[in-house]
Symmetry: C6
Subunit: 78 residues, 6 copies
């Protein structure tokens, strides 16, 4: 990774909704780890946010990350 | 996410059928989190709903999300 | 979903073979939930059924759905 | 499915190698369930068997099916 | 499969590193099961080894196979 | 693999953040195992780091690898 920033202290979240936000963050951080240039990232983001096939592919990544987060949290069962 | 709306209070559903509906909602909400403009979303939706490859990719995302929901619900075993 | 039809009462099936049929049904129902127009669905089906890449992608969706069904049925172990 | 042939009596196999063969069969049977015309299937097979991207996609389907088979067999641990 | 060669006697490996090698072998053997002609395989290999999208897709297959191997080995926990 | 270098001694990491770094390493090592030429690898890397679809595909591989790492570490639950 380009920086030593610690962004993932834990997979535990208070709610499923926060788990979704973490899954999205995880996906974005991977892309940031591969492409760290802010200008290029912004241009790429504009591209995939208006391309339905790439949006679906992004949703797949988030779904996979969320599975891990949900499992870590024992599905937030009460 | 663009809004602070809480849409995922729990992964628990009463029936498998409701679990399918939740899985579809989860996939849609991810796309809405990345692309929040209603006009662009509508145009993209028209595109992928008439493209067989993108429909299959969408079905894959739903299948992954459903797995998590099914597991959370212990597969609705009685 | 376009209709309120309940098509998924349970993930439990008597045999692995019936589990495969359910996995295929699950994949098809997702596509039907996104694209409910019968004419468009028929045209898209003709397209992906003659495109090897799309057939392989369809098989991947079925494989993911089947995993969930198999797990729900404890792999039909005796 | 086009026929009522029962091809999946059990997920249990004697060895990991037989589990691989079953995973490949499962992937092929899904494609046969969607496209049952033997002439079309043969033409499509020739296409994907000489296209590296489609071969890799096929290998992904087999990997997913194998995971289910391996789990059903408790990984053939002794 | 084209041959009756037994190449997968067990999913158990001594180390995680050997587990990675097995995962790569599993992916390659699937491709060899679909396309057994050595000349065609060599040509296809040259193609995907110089295509970044296909390399990433290959890495996905290996990741899926490795998950199964890791699980079989109880993650090589001591 | 081209070399006998041992790079994966264990799936256990001290923190989730280190688990992410390991998942990224695992994905990269697979690509290095298939394409070991440093010049070609560098050119391919420049290509996929500026292609949004390939970045998303890379993020999917990392998500799958991370799931295995997270499971091995029992999700770093305390």
């Amino acid at each position: 990774m380009a920086s030593n920033e610690v962004w993932l202290e834990s997979l535990i979240t208070a709610t499923p909704q926060e788990g979704r936000a973490l899954a999205i963050l995880m996906a974005r951080k991977t892309i940031g780890a591969i492409q760290s240039d802010p200008e290029i990232k912004k241009a790429l983001r504009e591209k995939y946010a208006t391309d339905s096939a790439q949006l679906i592919a992004s949703a797949e990544v988030v779904a996979i990350e969320f599975r891990t987060v949900a499992e870590a949290n024992n599905y937030w069962r009460k």
